[in-house]
Amino acid sequence: MAEYLIKNGFVFDPVQGINGDKKDIAIKDGKIVESVGASAKVIDAAGKTVMAGGVDIHAHVAGPKVNVGRNFRPEDKKQAIYEPGRGVRRMSGGFSVPTVFKTGYEYANMGYTTVMEAAMPPFYARHVHEEIRDTPIIDQGAYPVFGNNWFVLEYLKNGEAENTAAYISWLLRMTKGFAIKCVNPGGTEAWGWGLNCTSIHDPVPYFDITPAEIVKGLIEANEYLKLPHSMHVHSNNLGNPGNYETTLETLKLAEGISAKNDFGREQVLHHTHIQFHSYGGTTWGDFESRADKIADYVNSQKNITCDIGFVTLDETTTMTADGPFEHHLCELNHLKWANTDVELETGSGVVPYVYSPDIYVCGLQWAIGLEIALLAKDSMRFHMTTDHPNAGPFTRYPRVMKWLMSAKARDEMFAGMKNEDKVRDRTGLSTMDRELSLYEIAMMTRAGTAKALGLSHMYGSLTPGLCGDVAVYDYNPETASDPEAIEKAFGKAAFLFKQGELIINDGEIVSNGNKRTLWVNVKTNENPQVERDIALKFNKFYTVNQNNYEVAAHHYVPNPYVFEIDATV
């Protein structure tokens, strides 16, 4: 395999404490190394920014609801130029819900090399993996959803922690999943009857368990199984005025629990798209930011991480396993609504949404995300996401970076809003002059996310021994002054390496790489009861036979990277 030497770039690597120093980065046999021989190909990075490949901890990029978004929005294709195939590239299109090819290419263009699919319905896992397989370049994993799963609800209701863990390990193996995702705990099961759980104390119909018990139970199961990532929650009551209290109550469930794993992960709870959960007020009329309360709490709790879910003020497509929320949303905007409830497991909904800068609620949502990120004391625990495509497409990360790094750029946005005063008045953002550094951006986009995922031994840093995932951006931190240059440079990497292979050469994608699918195979004690329960549910309540349920690795996961864990006691 070719050797490379990336010379004289401004290197940003928070893990090694490298903050913009001019350094050379060497790549050999797919890994970062101390040095390479004279024969190594030299990439001149003088005047450019060098970082490890980006790691996305939460995006909806593959699977059934993503494809519903594509197929039921032909008009979304008209929001972006559809690009013909060229060289190694297939044709690629779509704006808020890009095709799998565009997903791979656009992440690569942003210097990202690893992306986690945020919600995999187990019953549809095969579909998720078919899309992941067809997505070029990037390494991917997927989080199966557990927060409304009948097995989990029953085991937790009976306080059977060991059975919960045994079932989870089985399902991770069946679906080739990477982590435990929990969306609107209990609420989506309630939606099976057209109901919801809007507080963590609302009992789930029939199952008679509360969201609080589900969240706590899943956190404990996660640590019992010593998984790389922590329990990954989208808490109840998303998107509603006054929901910050539900969010704080949910976060407090992690108090006193500490992480158990061999992957360097410190948190036990990751709260996703926390922007959507930081709202004050009681109605849309007195709607206001409570970013301060949320940021303060997360700052104070070392065992919690979060990603933001920045609103980018675009016309986009919302999609979530939070079925009742999507129904609520379509009642508000009267646009098309897709919903799929999944037997024994979960549900989901999809609704287009236009975040207009002229609507003050949207303006406020934009401000709240930035406010949280700028209140962060430790950017390693506040991560860059747009909850793609819910708050905006992932292709806007460079624009979000611009807003985070430039008060001037933020003021221009405020100035463009119809209700500027109202928006400024209801968020702390308008008085903030903090501008994040590239060092902090590197934490939010790779170092912090890799660590929270338990992947810091592979990704997120340029430490010798790690994967040869390196991005070179045409951005000179010493001379750049125009904030627009940030958006431009970080949206189009000059060079990109994935596992030591040159993917982008001088701005052009030249290889589709050798993408891998990450999943976790965790061994637990033999558990005849759980085996019986599984057989019984398949016999009586599933419409697919148990022998046709497992996602066969051979075909759907052609290039797996398996994390083997022993959680037997």
């Binding site: 039921f72 929005r73 032909p74 008009e75 979304d76 008209k78 009267h334 646009l335 098309k336």
Partner: protein, 266 residues
């Protein structure tokens, strides 16, 4: 105002996509430059000169450019699509997407035009001497934003799905309309001087339909509320007023529900 005249000299084996046959694309171009513009046909890309003789030249801007297209244009799509200003005259029958996504200017079609004309039209004027096809002034697939402004006058008949998802602007049809008029409309106005088939205003939120002739089946969600004297397109007459679609949602204004309206000439 400069004029570009395009005359078809040979019928193509397949359909031509004339995305350049509009004032915006031809402004400030010479006949020679225009003849060299692409005229895609399937996977091949002939140029305008391969199938059309070009005379005259474009004006300095779209507004100062008139495009005249002559001949049998039944295998030519997109004439006047995406235009923002200026004028287009179509001397002969033509195919799909006439004036689609148009935002301004004027199109006069001397013959018949094909389906999907005036898709998502935002402004300007279209006059059709002959008939128009299906989906006149409808939204593009999946979009909830149909015709939003401008005026269309069809002197002949129109096909099905006229004004689907219409939000604004007006359509006047001298002849008859096939099934489904202003389905899902949330504004705008359509006048049918001839007869209508069934499904006028199905799932209509807001908007107005004026019908001079007969309709074979009324939608069950339209209620008769009384007669009104109106002047419509220069015709003074008594109309029976219906409100609907009562099965559909309707916005409130000052506590009162706003309905779609159907006026049927007595």
């Amino acid at each position: 105002m400069e004029t570009v005249t395009l005359t078809i000299k040979e019928q193509p084996p397949l359909f031509l996509e004339a995305e350049v046959f509009n004032p915006d694309a031809l402004a400030s171009k010479s006949a020679a430059e225009i003849a060299a513009l692409p005229l895609p046909m399937g996977k091949t890309t002939p140029v305008v000169g391969d199938y059309f003789t070009v005379t005259g030249k474009g004006g300095a801007t779209a507004a100062e450019t008139k495009v005249v297209v002559n001949g049998d244009l039944t295998k030519v799509k997109y004439i006047g699509a995406h235009m923002s200003a200026g004028e287009v005259v179509i001397n002969g029958n033509t195919d799909m997407y006439v004036g689609a996504w148009m935002t301004g200017g004027k199109i006069t079609a001397k013959g018949t035009i094909g389906h999907f004309a005036a898709t998502a039209m935002k402004g300007g004027e279209i006059i059709v001497e002959g008939d128009a096809g299906n989906y006149l002034a409808a939204a593009y697939r999946g979009d909830w934003r149909g015709m939003q402004g401008g005026r269309i006058h069809v002197k002949g008949n129109v096909g099905s799905d006229t004004g689907t998802f219409m939000m604004g602007g007006e359509i006047v049809i001298d002849g008859n309309a096939d099934v489904h008029v202003m389905t899902h409309a949330d504004g705008g106005k359509t006048v049918i001087k001839g007869n209508a088939k069934s499904r006028l205003g199905g799932q209509m939120v807001r908007g107005e339909i004026y019908l001079f002739g007969s309709v074979d089946v009324m939608m069950p969600g339209f209620n008769y509320v009384g007669d009104v004297e109106l002047e419509v397109e220069g015709v003074k007459a008594k109309f029976a007023e219906y409100i609907g679609d009562t099965g559909e949602r309707h916005p409130k204004s000052k506590g009162k529900l706003i309905y779609g309206k159907l006026y049927k000439k007595k």
